[in-house]
């Protein structure tokens, strides 16, 4: 096979994105060391680039990468006094049989192990995210650093520290047993959820990497849904992502400004994504108890199905927020959204009372969107003066240029 250098670069880039985890995951199990497995996985991609640029790529590149990585792991273990026995054992295994790819079930198990290890609750939440994006999604540390707006050195330090902890503390490379599965899965789903919301919070055109986080979260949710079929919480999370992501083209205008839900061009919503998600929501809502993510997805589904903001099933949305509030966790954002839904469903006074109570409780002290919402409801109630005062409070609290620009525009509209 002949390839141009560009072909080789593109091929390796693709393999890194899609199959980094497939090379890494079995090596962690075999060597018992996360750090070592990662080192040799990276090496094998570097060797591939060097070698394939000269010799051309093999017909079947993935087994090639796996074999090189495995051999390098054995070499490295041999050099370390403490691992010499393990190396001999592995080498004997390799020589006894020509190395073939493990069967699919084994690969799935290894991937699940990798995911549960990266999202282990004994690791800091930020470390879980970095490990998952790096090792399960195959993102480079550069990309992750840019996506999370931290210096590259900080991100790399975070990864190094996390891997050291995995090895030193003996975090197991195992899929949790059945009784532990539910609680351990919480940590995995939370990690993926934060990846999605980080991507969703980005709005500027320059933020392609950050926007890409939404796609990564969807990829992760799909992968998990394949690996753990029939879990309503996993499937509900996938549906929730699809329903929000369906609005991506309508959420931001040409100038990079946020377009509010009620002003979005609903014709630009991704109907394929919505169509994929709706049956998933129905299915997950039937689970007993329905997972929290299913309730959140049901709210997103009602918005996505409505022809306009006014024709939205607000009473149902208010009821779903009430359900989320009842389940606790004490999230004031839920109460904020509930109050807005109650107002939109027709009870403007009750909605405003809800927002005033939140304001008085100081739970959302520095949250500018509370005041944006109050401004909106006050304007609807005809109290323009109070509405402008609320927008001014929002302006004092907003931090990003995009938020500020949005509030300034609302102030100009209100004055007109």
């Amino acid at each position: 096979m002949t390839h141009t250098p560009n072909d080789i670069h593109a091929l390796i880039g693709r393999l890194h994105r899609d199959h980094y985890r497939d090379v890494l995951a079995p090596l962690i199990r075999i060597t018992g060391s996360f750090a070592l497995a990662e080192e040799v996985t990276q090496d094998s991609f570097a060797v591939a680039l060097e070698r394939w640029s000269v010799e051309g790529a093999p017909d079947d590149p993935l087994p090639w990468l796996r074999r090189v990585a495995r051999n390098r792991a054995i070499d490295t273990l041999r050099r370390s006094a403490r691992w010499r026995d393990k190396a001999a054992e592995l080498a004997a295994e390799s020589e006894a049989a020509t190395y073939t790819d493990p069967d699919p079930e084994r690969i799935e198990d290894d991937l699940l192990r990798l995911i549960f290890t990266c999202c282990h609750p004994a690791l800091a939440p930020q470390a879980r995210i970095a490990l998952t994006l790096r090792h399960v999604c195959g993102l480079t540390s550069d990309e992750i650093a840019r996506a999370f707006l931290v210096p590259r050195a900080t991100l790399q330090q975070r990864l190094v520290r996390a891997k050291r902890k995995i090895d030193a503390a003996g975090i197991p490379y195992e899929v949790p047993s059945r009784p532990e599965m539910a609680s351990r899965l919480v940590s995995v789903l939370q990690t993926i959820y934060v990846v999605f919301t980080e991507g969703y919070a980005s709005t500027r055109d320059a933020d392609l990497v950050r926007e890409g986080l939404c796609e990564e979260a969807i990829r992760l949710a799909r992968l998990l849904d394949e690996l753990l079929p029939g879990r309503a919480d996993v499937r509900a999370l996938l549906a929730l992502f699809l329903l929000h992501h369906a609005r991506r083209d309508a959420r931001v205008d040409e100038d990079g400004m946020i377009v509010r839900l009620d002003e979005q061009d609903r014709g630009r919503w991704d109907q394929d994504a919505i169509a994929e998600a709706l049956p998933l929501v129905e299915e997950c809502l039937r689970a007993r108890p329905a997972p929290r993510y299913a309730v959140e997805a049901a709210i997103a589904a009602l918005h996505d199905q409505a022809p306009s903001a006014d024709e939205t099933d607000w009473p149902q949305i208010a009821a779903l927020y009430a359900e989320l509030d009842r389940r606790g966790g004490g999230d004031p954002i839920i109460r904020l959204n509930r109050a807005v839904a109650v107002a939109m469903a027709g009870d403007l006074d009750a909605g405003l009372r809800g927002l005033d109570a939140l304001d008085a409780s100081n739970e959302l002290e520095s949250y500018h969107l509370l005041h944006v919402a109050r401004a909106e409801l006050l304007a609807r109630a005809g109290d323009l003066k109070a509405s402008i005062a609320a927008l001014e409070r929002a302006r004092d609290l907003a931090t990003s240029p995009v938020e500020l620009a949005f509030i300034e525009r609302r102030l100009i509209e209100s004055a007109a």
Binding site: S80, H120, A122, A124, K165, A169, G170, I171, P172, P176
Partner: protein
């Protein structure tokens, strides 16, 4: 009487553990001398080296749920009141035991892996 020695140092000032055999032996030398002295004097009851606090996990209880935090126990209001050394296959098993410890009703458990120097 039995006494417990708790060894404190600034981790950021501590030298990296050498990975080569000779460097490692040189680092261990004064520790071996000290341990032998204690043993010969007949006062040695046990002792271990710990991994740095970056490998620690702290368990506490919030609203009845066990909460795991990456890192050491850092509050100074609560004081060390005892210790267990347990042998488990992995961190999950150790955390499982730690969560059952009676101190979890009113305090915390810091789980620190012990170094394998053998």
């Amino acid at each position: 009487m039995n006494y417990l020695f708790l060894l404190y140092s600034d981790e950021s000032e501590s030298p990296e553990t050498p990975t080569d055999d000779a460097g490692f032996a040189a680092m261990m030398e004064p520790w071996n001398v000290y341990t032998e002295a204690l043993t010969e004097a007949g006062v040695m009851r046990g002792g271990e080296a710990l991994h740095p606090t970056s490998a620690a996990t702290t368990l506490s209880r919030l609203d009845g749920e066990v909460v795991y935090t990456d890192g050491p126990f850092a509050e100074t209001r609560e004081q060390l009141g005892g210790y267990y050394i347990v042998e488990c296959d992995d961190l999950d098993a150790a955390l499982g035991w730690a969560a059952k410890c009676p101190v979890m009703g009113y305090g915390r458990v810091e789980v620190r892996p012990i170094m394998n120097l053998g």
